[in-house]
Amino acid sequence: MEISTQLAYISGLLVGKGYLYESNSKVAIEFSHSNPWVNGIVHCDSCGYLATKNPKSTEYICKNQDCRKKVDPIGRSKFNQIQHTHDSLRDRIVPFLDSEFKLATKIIPNRSSTLLVLDFSKALDEFAWLLKQAAGATNFSNFHLPEFFKSSPRFLSLEFLNGVLDATGYPNAGNWLNRDGASGHGRMRVYIQIVRNWHLTAELDEFIRQNLELPVQTIDWGHPNIRDSKLQDYRANRHSSWSREHQIKFFPEYFDELCFKLTHKQQLFAELLAHNVKCEFPQDHGWFPPSKISDSSRKAIHPSETDPRLPLPVRRHFDAFWQLSLALGSESLREYGSRASSIESFGLTGDPNVTSDQSAIETEVSQLWMKRTNSLPAVRGKTKIEIAKPRPTRLLEKDFYFPIASALRRELDPLLSGNAQVFDTSAQNLSSYLRNLESDQVELMEEFDNLNIRPDLVGFEVSMPSPIFVEVKIDELELSHLGQILGYCAVAQPRRAILISTESMGGALRRAILKKPKILEYGDGKTIQIAQFNDGLISYV
């Protein structure tokens, strides 16, 4: 089958922010617009330099040190992302796809994103090709760079990247780099935002640099050493702040072959590109090859380096962003480091000519890590005296989470040998209880968290990836309570599900179950168990 530009573009959309539904031959693409409005660059009306907001006020000040004038931002471009996304899909993207395929399309708007659903029922060959390229993956969290684009003609590779950019590329006036050009300041960047997909980030970076021969400025990885290298967030109890998306950043002036089909993104891209050209920045060749890692750029040891949400190749310490790409299999880095005494030695130093052996380097850099960790400023103690709020006289629902969790643990593991664990999902953040789980259980819990599936308690038994869900109530159990846990169960299919209350079952629920026991079913013969918690014991109804 000959691959069209339309199919290459859809493939890019899919990899960027798409879902593939094999059972009904559908593809859905999510176009995010968390903020309804997006703004262009503010330029000084006197000297034309970039003007930025003063962090201490709402004023915009010219960045030209010889000018420093206050600037009114009223003249900057401003786009309603929701409207532009909808209109671009209707007037540009769908007609573009229609010119090649017989697809049934649906545009579904939302406050924070717009969904494009493509039905391939009448284009099954093309759908089969997409499935083949997906190689078993089903959505943007787990897609790899499709095999086809590792050696595709340039025009198709560019169209694939256009798709990625429309789905998850952001020309953003706020993402400038503090650099001076011959006639301007602030180098604008565009970034590709990749959510939860480590290998795709490394592969896309490699694809842009090696296949398209375009420079990537940097990769901002969602890794604790990169995002929170001074442990400021960690020490402020924001333990998961590093666990966000990854960003591949580039300067727009080298990407003028590309074209967004979303009008607001294309106009912003053109604006950023024009700004950089006007400022006359020096030539940039991108981050590759990497520089040697100096002693001063070694990073402190971060307690989250071993977080179970990090995939194994990157569940360790890093000092530079490119080391993650190497750990994730970058071929260009492996080739660049192939002259070193070992690839591990190169990875630790960034020196392709390093001759020392790995263990000697490890000893040296681990001392530098310790030194950097010990030099972090001490955490100041709390001086504020907190006055406890008066407790309500009636016990709250959350007061029963711990005793019910303990009772369930005793039921699952009478000898308390550690074969079962029950977590209170409200009391602990995800990372703290994931630490105690096996890798397949971690993956499952992350998936549930992404779907906002949060029953009050979750239990696990050793070697059983499927969990036990527990929904706790302190009132008479009613039909609406059953509905809440039923929604979670229909999707997550836990091994067991328990709806438990400190009170007895309400009459309406009792009568409904007697009349139609099927209302407790959630698939494969599994049913929700109704239980009462009394005197520290769980009794099933």
């Binding site: 879902y19 539904y21 059972s23 009904n24 559908k26 859905a28 999510e30 929701i82 409207q83 909808h86 649906k106 545009i107 579904i108 708007p109 939302n110 406050r111 924070s112 994103s113 969904l115 659903v117 959505n139 992404n450 779907l451 906002n452 599936i453 039909l479 609406s480 059953l482 509905g483 809440q484 846990i485 039923l486 929604g487 979670y488 169960c489 229909a490 999707v491 299919q493 009459g507 309406a508 009568r511 409904a512 009349k515 139609k516 099927k518 209302i519 959630y522 698939g523």
Partner: protein
């Protein structure tokens, strides 16, 4: 009157009636109401003619009584309206009502759309069937084709 995003659904009754005319062409719509109490306590004459209605101890947001033009048998349609973006727990609540009453049509209207990740779940035919299939029919999820102007936008079934 329901208010979303500054737009207003001024006439839910008309919206529901127009939707049901499309979805149930073989039925007459004989009553549309917003129950204030559990359905077993509702005195609506038309609802009383629906089999088993006197045992329904729950309250959907809107109820429509339909009459089959061929055999004059009465059936119901339920419509729940989400206050925020639609999540799984609300779908579960409608599922319980649908399993008990076996309505001809059950719609979850989400004026603010579905929560971001629920889209991916709902579009998966297998998972959708697990949530939506209640025996007689399947629950449907609807939003608006242009949520910035609800009064003009037709319903869009996801």
């Amino acid at each position: 009157m329901s208010k979303f995003f500054g737009s207003e659904i001024t006439d839910m009754e008309s919206l529901i009636t127009n939707t049901l005319v499309e979805l149930a062409p073989d039925f007459d719509i004989i009553s549309v109401f917003k129950p204030a109490r559990q359905l077993k306590f509702i005195a609506d004459q038309e609802l009383r003619g629906v089999r088993d209605a006197e045992s329904w101890e729950f309250k959907p947001d809107w109820v429509v009584v339909l009459k089959d033009r061929q055999n004059s048998e009465k059936e119901v349609a339920f419509l729940n309206v989400s206050k925020g973006t639609l999540g799984l727990t609300e779908l579960g609540e409608l599922r319980v009502m649908a399993l008990l009453a076996q309505p001809r049509i059950a719609i979850q209207l989400a004026p603010l759309g579905l929560s971001r990740d629920l889209y991916s779940v709902w579009l998966d035919a297998e998972i959708q069937d697990r949530i939506a299939n209640f025996g007689k029919s399947k629950m449907q999820v609807a939003t608006f084709s242009n949520f910035q102007s609800l009064t003009e936008a037709p319903l869009l079934f996801v």
